[in-house]
């Protein structure tokens, strides 16, 4: 929440209450308050399409409120009719009548002078893995149930576990570092050249949310193995089954969790 925006809005609404504003003023004020809150009130910007959707709902709700009673409708429409009919408000009417077309023209101007935007594609960042088992280097894996074969060493044989993590570290720094970066945060040497950008493994919204089987699938099959909603044609993630052994892929997964201090999402009991 952006308090610098939200607090003044609340203060303004409070002032309307003290001034005993009419219903029309309240409706306009509420509409604007909701718009400004959605547009500027959040630290993480809300997409314009979502704002349009919310404002559509807001408009409908306010209209329903006004139209659902004859009195409310009358108290909203009276000031408007007065503006049109009454002689003493003529100056204001002229300003409104001339001002509205100017606003419309200005809107069209800003729309047309936007910089050219290439077509964009809203890809799914973590597409659903295939429900059918996948084949990697001659072995078959059921992604719903597969677990890292070396994960149990963490408890049963810690020193052997470290050997696997260390091997994963080698694999990472010989293969992945160019895009995913030295500090595994997606800022490697080539990161600025690719789209979508390489995953930042330190981000708590990435590997911590995923099962090791999902990582294995993404690593083994890479960009080309993604379903259509992931945009397989533009991802520069290699299909690592071309370069790495199955064990190397499991090792590098151990390394990613170990190095970032994150834990993989557990496989649900019923899937095992």
């Amino acid at each position: 929440m952006n308090l610098l925006v939200v607090l003044p809005i609340l203060v303004a609404l409070g002032a309307l209450r003290l001034l005993k504003a009419g219903l029309l003023a309240w409706m306009i004020a509420l509409w604007m308050a909701i718009y400004l809150t959605l547009r500027y009130g959040f630290a993480v910007p809300i997409p314009a399409s979502v704002i349009t959707l919310y404002m559509g709902i807001t408009t409908m709700a306010l209209a329903t409120y006004v139209l659902s009673s004859r009195e409310r409708f009358a108290s909203c429409s009276r000031p408007l009719i007065a503006l049109v009919v009454e002689r003493r408000l003529r100056t204001l009417l002229i300003v409104v009548v001339l001002g509205l077309p100017l606003l419309v023209a200005a809107r069209i101007y800003t729309n047309m002078s936007q910089p050219l935007q290439p077509p964009s594609f809203a890809r799914t960042v973590h597409p659903a893995p295939p429900s059918e088992p996948i084949t990697v280097r001659g072995q078959t894996f059921d992604l719903n149930a597969v677990e890292n074969p070396f994960r149990n060493l963490e408890k049963s044989d810690p020193s052997q576990f470290r050997v696997h993590v260390e091997n994963g570290r080698r694999v990472y720094y010989q293969n992945c570092v160019y895009c995913h970066g030295d500090n595994v945060q997606g800022d490697g040497l080539f990161a600025h050249g690719v789209n979508p950008i390489p995953t930042n493994f330190r981000d708590s919204g990435t590997i911590a949310m995923l099962q090791e089987g999902f990582l294995f699938w993404r690593i083994a099959k890479g960009g080309p193995g993604m379903p259509g909603e992931g945009g397989p044609w533009e991802s520069a993630m290699p299909a690592w089954e071309n370069f790495l052994t199955v064990d190397e892929m499991w090792d590098v997964i151990l390394f990613l969790y170990d190095h970032t201090g994150q834990r993989p999402r557990e496989v649900e009991e019923h899937a095992k």
Binding site: E71, A74, V85, P101, I108, P118, D182, P224, E234, A236
Partner: protein
């Protein structure tokens, strides 16, 4: 006599003990054992994968990295504020750790705590005895406030540039294409590239004018880049800074997100050369190594390509410019050539490097060291001379423009690396050893077949370190996607460097970008603005008329209490 001596000792000793330690001793900031130990933990977690657990620069990642990770046992550090040959200050090391070195895999480490950085510096100092030797320390040089940049000073700097023979490595126009550029090596005998002075965002020590001044005054230890502290006056060094600064447009690459083809009325006369593209918007796009499909290029020489496009009713033309340290116009190249997968292991790289002897850190490197056989090691990954030289005639430089073979249906594009079996790509290809362009159809990186080159024209020139290639084609052609005005089209580019043994998959490439083809007549905003304003006004008048008619006698609705 004996008594007198005792008297003196007794009298003076307390004062001697109170005297501060000699200044030189104070410089030896080696940290406590505990600090070094704490630094070792940080080092082994974050640094050793590249720099090696022994600090010798032979970590896991080392074999494919150019420049190679710093070998801390050598005691040679490039970016310093101290005179040539001297050890860096702690602040110098701290700055590189914090900010990193641009366009290398040494990223900045802003997340480490101050204490971690200090401890890791103490640990790094344990890798060489040099840090225990006071002789290798020196006071930092003074870097004065930069005088304002001026064109006249840059002009004088050009004279200094030629007089100091900077062009021998950095090239006449600073594009890193000097005659000795391909064969430069560092003190360890490893090949090293001169900086491309037109791209100051790649300067390892930073792009600011005082950064460049510092490099001139301190040199880069262990590399052929000498210090000019003794050979150039302060004024001359600033002139040289101003000249280098004038060679690049900005501190940042300002990569483009799209290409715009400009609509022109005239014929697309290719003999005009680059002048044909005057007024077209230049798009500088980042190139990265093809490391997705086998035949990987881990350190391509080209890091960016500038694209311009123009079209008239009939034709469309592309201008492609990229810096290349040497024009390779012999041999051949093709997107369909087989590129060997890199096989070099860390152990091989380590055994190769350990055979080079140690050298004195104070050795002056004023003369660029040139090793004739170093080229192959650097540019090829597997270190075999055969790969880099490409058999008899070698591999030529080459460039390609890639479009989808057919207008994409919806959002689905062909795979960005030479397409896929269901979605082929159209590749316009220029082997710069040949006068005529070629065309290929890509159905995947291992399935590239020759296509019909009819209707495709090409000219190419190389001057002072930059390739300039123009492609031209009909906008509507039977066997290709039509290019219509007012539309966006996916487009991608590839660059092959013959010197590095690039061919087939081994190359630098871009992702898909979009090119906008301007319509012949562009619509200004005035007309739609006026239309909308008049329409709004009309609706207002009608509404007002209706309302006034209904309420002829003033507001007739009885007041109510909401």
């Amino acid at each position: 006599m004996k008594n007198a001596a005792w008297k003196w000792i007794v009298l003076v000793a307390p004062f001697v003990m109170l005297l501060p330690e000699p200044a030189a001793a104070a410089e030896l900031e080696l940290g406590t054992d505990a600090q070094q130990k704490a630094g070792k933990v940080v080092y082994e977690r974050y640094c050793s994968q590249c720099h090696g657990t022994e600090g010798d620069g032979k970590g896991y990642a080392a074999s494919h990295l150019r420049p190679r990770p710093r070998d801390f046992t050598s005691g040679k550090f490039k970016i310093r504020t101290t005179p040539s040959g001297a050890l860096p200050t702690d602040d110098d090391l701290r700055r590189v750790i914090r900010d990193g070195m641009p366009y290398t895999t040494m990223i900045g480490w802003p997340n480490l705590s101050d204490q971690d950085v200090t401890n890791v510096i103490y640990y790094i100092k344990t890798f060489t005895k040099d840090f225990k030797n006071r002789d290798y320390y020196a006071q930092p040089i003074a870097i004065p406030e930069p005088p304002p940049h001026d064109a006249d000073s840059a002009k004088k700097g050009r004279e200094v540039y030629l007089q100091m023979e900077c062009h021998r490595c950095h090239g006449d126009q600073g594009r890193a294409d000097g005659a000795s550029a391909p064969s430069l090596v560092n003190d360890a005998g490893e090949p090293i590239l001169p900086a491309d002075l037109t791209k100051r965002w790649t300067f390892r020590g930073g792009p600011a004018r005082r950064d460049i001044y510092r490099t001139f005054s301190t040199g880069l230890n262990g590399t052929p880049m000498p210090s000019y502290a003794d050979s150039l006056t302060d004024t001359q060094r600033w002139q040289l800074v101003d000249y280098v600064y004038s060679l690049g447009a900005a501190d940042t690459p300002n990569y483009a997100e799209r290409v715009v083809s400009r609509s022109i009325a005239d014929d697309l006369d290719m003999t005009k050369g680059e002048a044909l593209f005057d007024g077209a918007e230049g798009a500088f796009l980042p190139l990265f190594g093809q490391i997705v499909e086998p035949g990987r290029a881990f350190h391509p020489n080209a890091t960016g390509i500038e694209v311009k496009a123009v079209h008239n009713r009939e034709h469309i033309a592309f201008l492609l410019r990229w810096n290349d340290m040497r024009a390779d116009r012999t041999g051949e190249n093709s997107p369909a050539l087989e590129a060997p997968e890199t096989t070099e292991t860390v152990e091989e790289a380590a055994s190769q490097a350990s055979s080079t002897e140690e050298s004195d850190p104070f050795a002056d490197a004023v003369e660029p060291e040139v090793a004739g056989d170093a080229t192959d090691d650097f540019f090829s990954d597997d270190g075999s001379a055969e790969t880099a030289s490409g058999g008899e005639a070698g591999f030529s430089d080459a460039v390609a423009v890639q479009f989808p073979a057919a207008l994409p249906d919806g959002i689905r594009l062909p795979y960005f690396i030479f397409g896929d079996p269901d979605n082929p790509v159209d590749i316009w290809f220029a082997d710069l050893a040949k006068p005529a362009p070629q065309r290929f159809v890509g159905r995947g990186s291992r399935s590239v077949a020759p296509g019909n080159p009819d209707g495709l024209e090409m000219t190419a020139s190389y001057d002072a370190g930059v390739w300039s290639v123009i492609f031209k084609r009909k906008r509507r052609q039977e066997d290709a996607m039509a290019i219509e005005g007012g539309q966006w089209y996916p487009v991608a580019f590839s660059v092959w460097d013959g010197l590095s043994g690039d061919r087939g998959n081994k190359r630098a490439l871009t992702r898909w970008y979009y090119i906008y083809v301007e319509p012949a007549e562009t619509v200004g905003p005035l007309r739609p603005m006026a239309k909308a304003a008049v329409a709004t006004f009309g609706i207002e008048i009608v509404l007002i008329a209706l309302i006034r008619r209904k309420h002829k006698n003033g507001v007739s609705i009885p007041p109510t209490n909401p």
